[in-house]
Structure formats: structure tokens, C-alpha cells
Symmetry: C2
Subunit: 451 residues, 2 copies
């Protein structure tokens, strides 16, 4: 009977979907799930919701809660890290500062909460600290990286510890939206999605055994214009899977982008201002001032819903949280390991030769068959050269710079990276930006760290 | 007795130094040197100068001339490629076109004649064609790449043919200028210069066995200001080895740049306009409108001097071309192979593990011990991470893009590369630039090639 520790269990972004999947995954029967958070109120709330939910669904799971990280980790077989250190507010304040220096929507990754706190300093620092605790207390546990930056985070843990580690993101599931928009029967689709976190590409797409890319081409030619005028598109900045951005990126790089790729690695000239962003995404997409405000508002609404539901013990949780899988691969991963299910899941794990042209120690996001003692990477081979040279390698390089700067406490490396930002006009601009951001009260440790 | 073929022997840039070294290298006694050029007049001139020079110096060398490439290659042991297809004029016309589109000093590599003709299309095409002839006619010959782009050129030949190949550039010798400016005794200096062509770094610098970097630091602190006011500096845009650009790059990347590195891989903000360039280089350096005009004028003067000298049979050549080694490593390389001298030379050859973090098939510029049947790479190991991430890997990536675009006839890949140029403001700007350049009469084949 395995023990699963959820670190940062009060996370509004992840707790509900985790609760859903824990309650619905029969393969976890008899397991212990330990919720851990430093925020006692959030912890109590999530614990109470989860307890009622698994009771309603008659699931046999032993729930625990604690504010002690050590206690949670002790004897854990799986440690799920969903922690977002210091939450979201400081990132918004940082974004405003960056905008004053000439950087529309900030200097973060284009996914608005991917780094934050001076290129993810807070997150990376915490991840490593947590991972070292796990290594000391439960060295055989799986370290499961869920909060962002998944790419940089999974890499640093894989390189700096001896832990088994995997990163998780539902973004790659975005290919299912393409299937839906093309009105294909999902049962007859075979898709391969490959790349790096938030940089996923539809490298194989078959329908009834035949190449289905011509169906995409046909949709673009005949239906895209109408679709982009439809309410389904216009009312949902988050419905980003066949946006004009995705179609243009497909034309530029020759492979269709999946999920968050259109956010994170769409080219700079799609993202210069709101008017431009609106050409490529509905309402400028998830990371425009419109889309991102919606997201942050959504998080607040979700928290309020959770708080009210926790207080209102008469309403069944299932009314608000329908008993269906969340679509996240976190719990399926645990299920597949515990029960040796050999399910194929899209995971972030060290490359080890799966993608040609990337070093073994770079974490890639690829299909992996997961069993009790095995992770069998799908052999990917070579990606198209244009995609490798203009997207995959530059994104890999950015990860290396963020990690090198963090490890070597190298502020100059961050400066050099920002100098290559297309919005940068001068050295003085970047120097002022860096000093301004590092002088904020929430960046005290970062300021000390980066010399 | 070896045969050495010089292809493009009429080259004004290289023929005089080749003649010098041939005439002075006693180890080549008895060898045959075959000059080949499609320009009969130039060929005759160079042949006549060389014949007189080796006679004056009493060197035992068998000289031949031919306009037939096949004849030159036949039974050759060494094929030296100095060809610059179509010369320099079209590159200047292209630079002007690029300037009209907003690209000061053109879209070439910052070294003004490195690519030209739409990212070296003419050169790469010719190199491959020549190399395939060599492979067919004299498959055991050494292919010696001398004309630019040495980095891209040596790579494509190494990858696409089975030839033994090395690229040659005297730039890495630039560390000797540092030794001279610091007033050190060259005999007591030990230097290691490592990188890619035109991207060389002083990775080891010892004086009398001790680290000599503090001597550079001291020079910067105490003497640089005066030096940069001296006539020696101010009157020579080509004396670029301890320029403010070099010192600033040393501060940015932590390692001192050598030779042409300050030209090719100095950051964009050193090179935005003439006024800015003048801050970093004397008269804006070799590639400003001042320095480059001087260079082109110098080539014309040299050609006129050669023509006059060829006509004037009474003046000894040695009066105009003093009998001393040119400093190029082309002939020393041949000498070291023929006579198994095991001399250490700085060459461009495939990495094969010498520099960590670069693939085996990337041509690096490193010290190599050259013998009859051996090329022994100096084991370099890891370069400093900041240098790798911000300079070496991006320059490697640019080479890969230029070659991938060439091989796959991929105009879009060139477009994507230009979009990342810091001077680019929009997609339309790059599209117009590309069409304008490809529509020029001298780019007819390139226009057909890149689809």
C-alpha cells in the first residue's frame, strides 16, 4: 500500500483535479494520501473536501494532513510538488515593473506564471530544497514536479539529485481539441506529441491509419475563417488549440503546435501588443491582459467555491466536482506504477536518447510507457530540422541559461539573455530593469543570490 | 614527393602569403605546386611571381599552372581552396540593399565578406562541387578550406564527403598581439586559443608558468586608456586585438576574445551604427564603412603592386615580398604532414569530443598536433558555461541554420533567422529584404535554389 505526499496541497490550481482523480482511481485503493501545506486553513479546507468526496464516491483511501514537510515525505513512495512559492500577486507586480521598462506583458516566459520572481529563483530554490529533503528522508520515492516551471524544475532536480523524477503538464493533451474541432472520432485517431514542456508538436497524426495532416490543411482552407468568427472561439481566450497563432506556427515550422506551445514559443512578432495578439489569439489569448485577468479571476472564483463548499456540509461535493477524470496525468502515472499497468502517458523525463540532437540529460516531453519498474520512452528519432533549429534548440538553450544563472549565481548571464530580447533597446535599459526587479521587497533573497 | 593544388590561385587575399611560405619552407623541397585559376591573366601573374620568387630564394619546387580544375586535382595530395566566387563587388551591392531595408552594414556575418550572396550560397555550392571532384579524382587528398566562410564551409565538406578536411584561418594567432601589447617575451608565454572559426577565446594564458590574466587586468586598469589614445591604436582600424570591444567582451563573457571574434561575435549593441562602433573599435573597426573601405582599397593596391611587379622583371620580388613566414598555417600544415613534424597548429576540424558540450561533427578551431598520419586534438574539456551558452552555442546554431537552409533549399529558415536579428521590426521587412536580394542579377541561382 503506497503513500502519496502532496506538497502544497492547498494549491487552488491543482487540488481539485487531484481530489477528483484520487477519488476515481480504483487502483489506488488502500493507499495513503498525505496532504501537506504550510497554510493551515487551506490545508484543512482541501482535506475536508477530499474526505467528503472520497466518502461520497465510496473510495477506499486513507487521507492524512500535516503542516510538516518531513512528516509528509516520510515513507512516501510518491511526492507530488504543486508549490507556487508566494503565490501570484508578486508576479503581477513584477510584470508591471517590466512594462514600465518597455517589456509588454513582462519578461517572464510568455506563459504568464512560468518563471516569476527573477527567472524562477523562488521556485527553483524551493524545488531543490524539497528534493534534497526527499532524497534524505525517502530516497526511493518518485519526485513528481507539477507546478511551473516544469521544464526548468524537472531538469534541475534530475541533474542535482539522485531521485527518480518526472514532470507533469496536461498541455500535450491539447491535441484532443484538434481532434474535436476536426470532428474526428477520437477512438480512430493515433497521435504522437513530442517536444519540451510547453513546446509540444504533433509529430504523428493518423486517422483510420492514414496521415491526418491533410484534414488539418482542409480545415484551415475551408473552415478556419468561420471558426474564428464563431462564439466558441471568440468567447474563449483559453480555447487556444486551433488559433490563427497555431496555424501560422504550423506554416512557419512545418509541424502543428499543441497546447501551450502557442503561448510559450510563439514568435515575438505575434506578441508585441494587444492589437497584434488579438490577430493571433481570441482576445489576445491566455496571456494577454484580457486572458490572464480572466485566469486570475477564475482562480479566485474557484477558491471561493471551494471555501463555500467546505463550509456547506449539506451539499454533496459531487454536485460541484463531477466524478470524472480531470485529464491530468499525475494520478494515472501513480496508478500505472503501482499496478504495473504499462499505460502510455506523456511525461517530462530526461531524454536519454529518445529525441536525436538533444543531450541525454535534457528533460523532454514525450510519450512514455509506465510500469512498475519501467519507464519505456517512445523512440522519437529526429525532429524536422527547421523545427529543431528555430524552436527546440533555442528553448533548450533558454532553460540552460536560467539554470546556469541560478547555479552560478550569475546575474550577468540573465542580463545577456535579456539583451537578446527583441524589445531591448540598450544595455542601460536591461541594467535598470534588473536592478528595479531585484530591489522589490519580495526579491530580497534573489538579490542576494544573483551577484 | 607531394603534389599541392591551389584552387583559385589568382586570389589577391591569399596568393602572396602562399608564395612566401612555399618559397621558404625547405621541407617542401622537391614537391610540385599546381596553381589553378579560371582567370588566365591572374594565373599567369601569380605563376610568374612565384617562379621568380622561388628562384631568387633558391627553393627546389616544381611549379605548374592550369585552368583545368581536374588537371590540378589529379594526383594531388593537398588541395587548397582559396576561391571567392564572383569576388567582392556583389557583396558590397548586397550590403547597400540590406542597408536600405534597415540593416546597417548588411545581413552578412559581421565580418563583411564572410557570407555574401544570400548566406554564402555561391561559396557553399562551389565548395561542395569542388570537394566532390576531389573525392572522385583524388579521394586521399587533404581538402584545405581557406576562403570564407571557413566555419560553414569546413563543416559542410566534413559532413557531406568522405574527405580529410581542415579549415584555416590566421585569426587565432591574434593572441600574439596581446602578448606584444602587454610587452611579454613571447618565448615565455603559453597560450591556448579555443572556439569556432572567428569565435576564438584565450582559454589558457600563462607567463613564466603563472596565470597571466592578472597582467591583462592590470593593463586594462592602468594602460588601456592611454593606449586607446595612441597613434598605434587610432590609425589602425585593423589593429583590433585589445580594443575596447575586446575588453568589454572579456567583462561580459569572462574569457578574453582573440582575433576576429571581436568582429564576428561581438554583441549587437556594439554594432548599431558608426558612432557606436567607434566607441568599441578604432574608426569603427575592420567592418565599419571606414575599415572595410580600407580593406577593399588595400586589396586593389596589392593587386596593382602584383601586376606591376610581374611586368617589371628587373626588380627582385624579395624587395616587395620579404622572405619571412606569412603567419598563415596553411603551408606549415602541409610541411608537418609531409615531414611528420608533429607541430601544434590551430586548425578547424571536427570536434570529436575535444570540446565538451558540442557534437562530434561540429568543426571547432583548436590546437592540433599534426603528423604524417595523425591529427591529435588537444583535449579542451568544458568551456566556461556563460561563454558556451551566450556565444559558442548560438554561433554553432547559426552555422547549422545556414547549412540546413542550404541543404533543404529552405528560404523560410533564413527568414526565421533574420526575424531574430535585433534590427528586424516586422515580418514584412524581412520578406521584402529577401525578395530584393534574391532578385539581383548575381543571385539568379540562389533564387532558384531557395524555394
Amino acid at each position: 500500500m503506497s503513500k502519496i505526499a502532496v506538497i502544497g496541497a492547498g494549491s487552488v490550481a491543482f487540488s481539485m483535479s487531484l481530489i477528483q482523480d484520487f477519488a476515481l482511481t480504483k487502483g489506488l485503493s488502500g493507499c495513503t494520501v498525505t496532504f501537506m501545506d504550510i497554510n493551515q486553513d487551506r490545508l484543512n479546507m482541501v482535506y475536508s473536501l477530499a474526505s467528503r468526496y472520497i466518502k461520497e464516491l465510496d473510495m477506499d483511501l486513507n487521507l492524512e494532513k500535516t503542516t510538516s514537510r518531513e512528516e509528509a515525505i516520510r515513507e512516501a513512495d510518491f511526492v507530488i510538488n504543486t508549490v507556487k512559492v508566494d503565490g501570484y500577486d508578486f508576479m503581477e507586480a513584477e510584470r508591471e515593473i517590466a512594462e514600465k521598462h518597455g517589456y509588454y506583458r513582462g519578461i517572464d516566459d510568455k506563459v504568464s506564471d512560468y518563471y516569476g520572481g527573477f527567472f524562477a529563483y523562488k521556485q527553483l530554490n524551493f524545488f531543490l530544497d524539497l528534493a534534497r529533503d526527499v532524497e534524505r528522508i525517502s530516497p526511493n520515492a518518485w519526485f513528481m514536479q507539477v507546478s511551473n516551471p516544469v521544464f526548468e524544475g524537472t531538469n534541475i532536480i534530475a541533474r542535482e539529485t539522485g531521485l527518480k523524477v518526472a514532470g507533469f503538464c496536461h498541455g500535450a493533451q491539447g491535441y484532443k481539441d484538434i481532434v474535436k474541432i476536426l470532428k474526428l472520432n477520437p477512438e480512430e485517431v493515433e497521435a504522437q506529441v513530442v517536444g519540451l514542456n510547453h513546446c509540444n508538436w504533433l509529430t504523428r497524426f493518423l486517422y483510420r491509419g492514414n496521415n491526418a495532416y491533410p484534414l488539418i490543411d482542409e480545415w484551415i482552407e475551408k473552415e478556419s475563417e468561420n471558426y474564428w468568427k464563431s462564439d466558441e472561439y471568440l468567447h474563449n481566450p483559453w480555447g487556444y488549440h486551433i488559433t490563427p497563432a497555431a496555424v501560422e506556427m504550423y506554416k512557419l515550422y512545418g509541424v502543428f503546435p499543441v497546447g501551450d506551445s502557442v503561448r510559450s514559443v510563439s514568435p515575438w512578432w505575434f506578441n508585441t501588443d494587444l492589437v497584434t495578439k488579438e490577430k493571433y489569439f481570441s482576445s489576445g489569448g491566455p496571456d494577454s491582459e484580457v486572458g490572464w485577468t480572466m485566469y486570475l479571476f477564475g482562480l479566485k472564483m474557484r477558491l471561493r467555491m471551494m471555501e463555500e463548499l467546505a463550509k456547506d456540509e449539506k451539499t454533496p461535493i459531487t454536485e460541484k466536482l463531477p466524478p470524472r477524470p480531470s485529464g491530468e496525468v499525475i494520478v494515472p502515472f501513480i496508478d500505472s506504477i503501482i499496478n504495473n499497468k504499462k499505460e502510455k502517458l506523456i511525461l517530462n523525463i530526461p531524454n536519454n536518447g529518445a529525441v536525436e540532437g538533444l543531450p541525454d540529460d535534457v528533460v523532454v516531453e514525450i510519450p512514455v510507457t509506465v510500469g512498475k519498474d519501467t519507464l519505456e520512452r517512445e523512440k522519437i528519432g529526429r525532429l524536422p530540422n527547421r523545427l529543431m533549429l528555430h524552436i527546440i534548440i533555442p528553448r533548450w538553450l533558454r532553460m540552460e541559461i536560467v539554470l546556469q544563472a541560478f547555479r552560478e549565481r550569475d546575474k550577468k548571464s540573465i542580463l545577456l539573455m535579456l539583451m537578446e530580447d527583441h524589445r531591448t533597446k540598450s544595455l542601460e535599459q536591461v541594467e535598470a530593469l534588473i536592478e528595479d526587479i531585484l530591489s522589490q521587497p519580495w526579491n530580497g533573497s534573489a538579490k542576494e543570490h544573483y551577484r
